[in-house]
Amino acid sequence: MATYIVRRLVAMFGMLIALSIIVFLIFNALPSDPARLTCGKSCSPQIIEANRQRLGLDKPLPEQYGAFVKGIFAGRTYGSGTATFDCSVPCLGYSFRKGEEVTTLITRALPVTAQVALGAFFLWMVVGIGIGIFAALRRGTWKDRSVMGAALVGYSFPSFFIGLIFIFLLQIKLKVIGFTGFVKFTDNPGLWFNGLILPWITLALLYAAFYARLTRNQMLETLGEDYIRTARAKGLRERKVIGKHALRACLTPLVTAAGLDLANLLGGAVITEAVFNLPGMGRLAIDSVVDSDLPIITAVTLLVATFIIVANLIVDILYAVIDPRVRLA
């Protein structure tokens, strides 16, 4: 197990290097000139050239890539002579548009997204799996049909639509929830909750619908298995037959989906963040794409890739924990 994890981590490292090179090359192959993008309308060729030098964009590509990687592990210094500034470890670049280090921007945005994502994740896992089991146990009845029908509706609506409906109904019409925006938990837990509850529900609805369907299908398949009959023949209570024997067998596909969905969301719940005006990773990514802010795009892409790769590793390890037939080698 330990050697397996080490090997996977080494492979992950290799993948990230390859990925970073590709991302780096793609963005440099774009027709837009990164140096030109560092200043606004009142640009003069002199400023552009100065910025090009300060950012090291005049150097050959391999050297630029080397400086980028070095920045992550050792930090780097932009510019030369007196007009320099340090970008400390891990330096993911500097955004001229925003006038800030990319690392700073990400450390500000990531916690917001993480709170949105984790809250929604918890909500949709509990609700989705619960509904899925509920429906599977009542297969073919009107309860099953109505719950799964509702799930299909939830699954079909885009999240911006659900989000806007919530805002309109709960915040504007009924005024149950105030417009507080994002407030840090440490500043005011009540307002923090108030600001996040709608994004959580909006995101969770979408995913819960998918997980309910997944759980229901998986559960129905499992309930037909011989070992479920054995569990009943042992005299186990139905609660234990379902909650222990059947659910355990349903976990593998759920864990796969959950790992990848969560990793994806940590890279930014783009639409939900936009609808609820949350300063998270999604917003950061969208803004930087609109502004062609290359250092941010590069960093966000690499970060999301890291999340996905790590999630995959965790999912694979969980497989072996759930199913003893899986040998990690």
């Binding site: 009943r232 023949a233 005299g235 186990l236 067998a249 003893p324």
Partner: protein, 346 residues
């Protein structure tokens, strides 16, 4: 009073195509230390019968009627939780395919401990000790080490032994074995049968053996019930069924068993046709469409009238048969059909 009494058991399922009468008026009794074999083709209702005794049918989808009494206690009308508490405790069951019947994600020890703890107030340690003793008893070497193995680590025979150990954890008085040897190698089959016989001797268990393998029946059973189309078509002591069969279906079953004594040129004789649809059963005798002898009955009684399960003779009321053919004629047929197969036909 027998330990297990099944009386006029009926099990129906509603499907989109109509009502499936899987079991229709089945009765039999089993005493402790006795083995009853239920024999029949696939779809004859034998597994549905055993599941009905155990209360394993979903009450929402299956209609179970009639009477099942375990040690005098009625199970059909009992609450689901009453029956659940008896399952694994006083009556236990083993299944055909031990690999799919054991949970793939839990260790052998976990599954045995769980079986013990449902019905006994035990510490995990005590339950583990009991599990080890039981594995020893069913002939699993290195029982201590096997406890931490998973089902996929074991061979087919070992898995079935684990299933048997699990069924015996709480000392059940009734053991239902649903095709316990079908999925196993022939040599392993013999071991499992021997094991069941030894365990019955030791614990005095009543055994209901569901099988289509007449060899297993001969080895293990005291009494035999032959099922066809959801009902009992012949029942009696194992000797009655083997040496003095009367129902044409039983004759067909016996004729389709390979025998060492038969010459090489003798082909196996399958029963022509296939089991009836349990949704639209024939009006008269359920075996009529496949019965080669229905012409022996005058008129078309076989087409119009359901034969009753009647005793063959006053001397042996235990041996019952469901057939319109005259008793003397039936015996003639049996002698003719089995004479060359069975030595010492009485």
């Amino acid at each position: 009073m027998s330990f297990l009494e099944v009386e006029d058991l009926r099990v129906q399922f509603s499907t989109d195509d109509g009502v499936v009468k899987a079991v229709d008026g089945v009765s039999f009794t089993v005493d402790k230390r006795r083995t009853l074999a239920i024999v029949g083709e696939s779809g004859s209702g034998k597994s549905v019968t055993s599941a009905a005794i155990m209360g394993l049918h979903n009450r929402k989808t299956a209609v179970v009627e009639g009477s099942v009494r375990l040690d005098g206690q009625e199970l059909i009308t009992a609450t689901p939780d009453t029956v659940r508490a008896l399952r694994g405790q006083r009556m236990a069951m083993i299944f055909q395919d031990p690999l799919s019947s054991l949970h793939p994600f839990y260790s052998v020890g976990d599954q045995l401990v769980e079986a013990a703890k449902v019905h006994q107030d035990l510490s995990t340690k005590a339950a583990l000790a009991q599990a080890k003793t039981m594995l020893d008893k069913v002939g699993i070497p290195n029982a201590e080490r096997r406890l931490s193995d998973y089902p996929h680590n074991l061979s087919g025979g070992m898995r079935q032994r684990v299933m048997i150990a699990m069924a015996l954890m709480n000392g059940p008085e009734l053991l239902i074995a649903d095709e316990p040897t079908t999925a196993l190698d022939v040599t392993v089959q013999a071991q499992i049968i021997a094991l069941l016989r030894d365990l019955q001797e030791e614990f005095g268990t009543a055994i209901v053996l569901i099988t289509h393998d007449l060899g297993v029946v001969a080895d293990l059973a005291d009494d035999v019930v032959v099922m066809y189309g959801g009902r009992v078509v012949e029942s009696g002591g194992v000797e009655d069924i083997y040496y003095r069969p009367e129902m044409p279906y039983t004759l067909g079953l016996l004729g389709s068993v390979p025998r060492m004594s038969a010459g090489r040129q003798d082909r196996l004789k399958p029963i022509p046709g296939s089991p009836p649809s349990l949704i639209r059963l024939p009006e008269g005798c359920v075996f009529r469409p496949r019965c080669p002898y229905h012409t022996l009955v005058p008129g078309n009684r076989c087409d119009t009238e359901r034969p009753e399960l009647l005793p063959v003779s006053a001397r042996n009321p235990e041996h019952g048969v469901r057939c319109h053919i005259k008793p003397s004629k039936r015996r003639e047929l049996a002698a003719e059909k089995l004479g060359d197969l069975v030595e010492g036909t009485a």
